[in-house]
Amino acid sequence: MMLITFIFFIVGGKLFFLQIVKGKSLQARALDQWTRDVPLKAVRGSILDCNGNELAGCNTTYTLYVRPNATSSVENSARAISQVLNEDYDEILKKISKKGVSEITVAKKLSKQDMQALIDSGIDGIYFGRDIERYYRYGNYLSQLLGFVNADGDGQAGLESYYNEYLKGQDGKELTETDLVGKELSGEISYLPATDGLNLKLTIDSTIQFFAENAVNSALSEYNAKSANCVVMNAKTGAITAMAQAPSFDLNHIDRSDVSSLFSKMKLNAITSVYEPGSTFKILTTAIALSLGVVREEERFYCAGARVVDGKRIRCWKSIGHGSQTFAEGVQNSCNCVFMALAERIGVDRMYQYFEKFGLTRKTGIDCVGETSSILLNKSAVKTVDAARIGFGQAIAITPMQLIVATAAAVNGGKVVTPYLMQAVTDSGGREVIRSYPADRGRVISEQTSATVRRLLKNVVSLGSGKLAGVAGYSIGGKTGTAQKYENGRIAAGKYVSSFIGFSTVEDPEYIVYFMVDEPMGYRYYGSLVAAPYVGQIFSKIFEYKQIKPTEEVIKLTYFEMPDLSDMTAGSAITAVNRLGLHLELSGTGGRVIAQYPAAGEIVNNNSIVLLTLSED
């Protein structure tokens, strides 16, 4: 009696534990066996450009499942399926008569019409799953930035990955109540609807992106370069209008077999790699010096081809020297000696203070994966000689995006912007869920100083090394850069980074265009010759596309034949080019001219740039 009573109480207690305490969690575990589900994939949100053009979208296809246990006549089903899908009856019959499986995947990637036809045929035991396939409208276009998704539709790279949470949505399910072996019970189907992903509206303008894509592709093939990179940004807001990089890859046909090659092409150089900016950095030295009042525009400097700093002789790029020149001319000539002098006047402490204000000591904060920051010498370790080199863009490594943001601040009136790519996140009805607003990170120089910088840089394009970036009738400012590359701490012979950063209009800068060619092959490696012309091309197309009217007086060009300068002494050749009023670039330090560009007899105009290759002493 005692034993039986005892057992009854134990059982009662266990029942209470199972039914009341554990009830919910047991049910949750059991739910899985009570139902069969067909996934309802959420449609991934589209990626749109700033005008609403679709850059990345989704195709919806359907997968056909058959549950033999729920099929009343396998033959009828096979006949209907083979008719709609236009496939062999026997094959289908064999497929769906398989024993011991509760669910068979019969066909994938069906169109909506096929699915409807199968539903209309009235056969039972068939189920459809919705699949989502990502496509990129232009294929090899904006590839590094857009990124791609994996087989499950999750963003793996680029913006697809950065904004995955917004884009992916929430998958749903179609639940059918079944018995142990998968036979349907009541025929009741419950839906857990999928929530489609949100759309991502970018700041990118697909038309301007096309200009940039064309430019990087031509530059890559023309100079057989390692890479060509272009960024177009709104100088006032930081909104990225275009960002192109070659070589690239087709997002619709990704070769996942060669992962290392894919990864190298995927790397967005403009934000993930640092380089020595070279002369483009002089824009910042100019802005700092003017802001501190340590130099005046008309102040005269003398360049003898080199300057001795702390007992060390540092050469100007023009070994015969620029002679006596005003500061403004020094900027035009990109004279290293002038900027060494400025760096000395600024001093290391103030230089680093400004670097921080210009945003060179931290990431720009662009909304994309993989951004890196600059490599700067530790301030306490910077000697005067290092500071002098930093003054003209050496001994410092920054990302192109940091240079673009700092240059934008120098010319837009002194405001440091945060570059951004996402303009808005919208739902399927087009309503904005999230919107980006330009982030102002504070003022670094005064409006007045900025205006002076702009005026000086305008002269670089109208009169100096930036001539080829000019567009007749338009007001453009900018600066070239040609930097030697370092490999294992030494200068790598013949490896250069040629760049140009320009803006327009000078009076009210809106577009800032950065173009960089990494390791152009051949003797024409100067930024003025390699990068500047592409910036000019892009500006001219933007003006046409945006219907921006010319504001400047068009200087009538005179055309003439290029004289033969070969075998002349360096001195007389330089005098001859100066007399023609042409901008000159020199390669080598010797006394004789061994090659010239453009070739003798070619028709040139007074806007052309001449490159003379001198003998090696």
């Binding site: 009696m1 034993l3 039986i4 009573t5 057992i7 009854f8 134990i10 059982v11 009662g12 266990k14 029942l15 209470f16 199972l18 039914q19 009341i20 554990k22 009830g23 919910k24 969690s25 047991l26 049910q27 575990r29 059991a30 066996q33 009570w34 079944t178 018995d179 142990l180 072996v181 019970l185």
Partner: protein
């Protein structure tokens, strides 16, 4: 009386006292009331069982036999036969049973032996437990356990359990029966019969020392059996964590848990079980209590347990008020069989002890089980009826 452990004996003495003390019709009414309660509970549980069998088996019966009433019909026939048997036995003088004790014991052994004859014995799920009678099957062990109770009650009422040879006389046929059932094999019924043997000896007034002498080797036998067939240990221990082997040993218990868990406090409603859709094996027989728990909830399950407890209470009360030592032992033995099998079934379904295949008396589907339990309850009725007749 010497043995304080001997419940039935003490109660029997009380019963004798009560005869001496009172001849009033008040007691006679008490016997009749007891019988009315036992009949009502029996019919209530078995009809309720019929409804639950329909709920638990209609889907699988339709799938396997094309007839959703397949089990209900069989159980209905058995219920009819069971009622007739119960009524018949209740009219029977229990002393006929006492006289025929050796015949009954012999029949029990013959039936258990027939299983092993090819053509008559039926094998299913890897065990020979049934005799195929062509039109129906029967499980001899269901009959044999009551046969043993009748024998033991008869013997012990005459000779007691004080001398070793008397103990042996009661123990040996039981042990032989256990051996035969073990060979089928049917471990759960074997265990039940073993429990019944000890209970009968206890009720028969065995001394504590001798009981221990028997119990210790019996308990030692358990690890030996496990060592002989190690798969048993694995099966035995699976109930502690069924999720360790959800597809094998733990499967059935997990499914039982799912059913109970879904039931909650008030259940999902009659016929609304989800687990009966082939998920829970033996939903209509050994695991019918899981379906009860799922459809009627904790409340329903506890009510069913209370009905059993009440039935068992009246069973023991019958034993306590029996007029003779034989009747007292008989009623106590019959009640104990019902009690131990109910308790073990509930404990298995709720995962308190290792899983064994044992039907829930009166409720689970199974014709021979129902008929033999109802016949046994008929014995209780007969004992009460005689008690009430003596009063008047």
């Amino acid at each position: 009386m010497r043995s304080s452990k001997s419940i039935a004996l003490n109660l029997g003495v009380e019963a004798q006292k009560s005869i001496l003390l009172s001849q009033s019709s008040f007691l006679s009414r008490a016997y009749r009331k007891r019988n009315a309660a036992i009949i009502s509970l029996t019919l209530l549980l078995s009809v309720f069982g019929l409804v639950m069998i329909y709920s638990a088996s209609s889907y699988s019966a339709n799938k396997n036999f094309g007839d959703e009433f397949y089990y209900v019909k069989k159980q209905g026939v058995a219920l009819f036969v069971g009622c007739a048997a119960m009524a018949g036995v209740s009219r029977l003088d229990t002393f006929v049973l006492k006289k025929m004790r050796y015949v009954i014991l012999a029949i029990s052994f013959v039936l258990l032996g027939i299983i092993f004859l090819p053509g008559l014995g039926m094998e299913s799920y890897g065990a020979r437990r049934w005799i195929n009678l062509g039109f129906m099957t029967m499980q001899p062990s269901e009959v044999a356990k009551f046969g043993y109770v009748i024998f033991a009650a008869s013997y012990l009422s005459e000779k007691g359990a004080r001398r070793l040879r008397d103990i042996a006389a009661v123990l040996l046929p039981g042990a032989a029966m256990c051996l035969l059932i073990m060979l089928e094999p049917n471990m759960s019924i074997t265990m039940c019969v073993m429990c019944v043997i000890f209970f009968m000896l206890l009720a028969g007034g065995i001394s504590a020392g001798k009981m221990l002498l028997l119990l210790v080797p019996a308990l030692l036998l358990v690890p030996v059996l496990i060592l002989l067939e190690p798969y048993r240990l694995k099966r035995l221990m699976a109930f502690l964590d069924p999720w360790a082997s959800p597809k094998a040993e733990g499967y059935q218990l997990i499914q039982s848990y799912y059913a109970l868990g879904r039931g909650g406090l008030f259940g999902v409603g009659l016929f609304q079980s989800r687990q009966k859709y082939l998920f829970l094996p033996f939903a209509e027989s050994d695991f019918i209590f899981s379906i009860i728990g799922e459809e009627l909830g904790l409340v329903g399950a506890v009510v069913v347990m209370c009905l059993f407890a009440t039935l068992i209470f009246f069973g023991f009360s019958t034993a306590a008020n029996a007029k003779t030592r034989f009747e007292s032992l008989l009623a106590a033995g019959v009640t104990f069989v019902i009690a131990i099998q109910t308790a073990v079934n509930l404990a298995v379904v709720t995962g308190c002890i290792p899983p064994t295949g044992l039907p829930l008396p009166l409720v689970s589907a199974g014709g021979s089980s129902l008929v033999s339990f109802m016949s046994a309850i008929g014995i209780l009725l007969s004992v009460n009826r005689r008690g009430s007749n003596l009063q008047t």
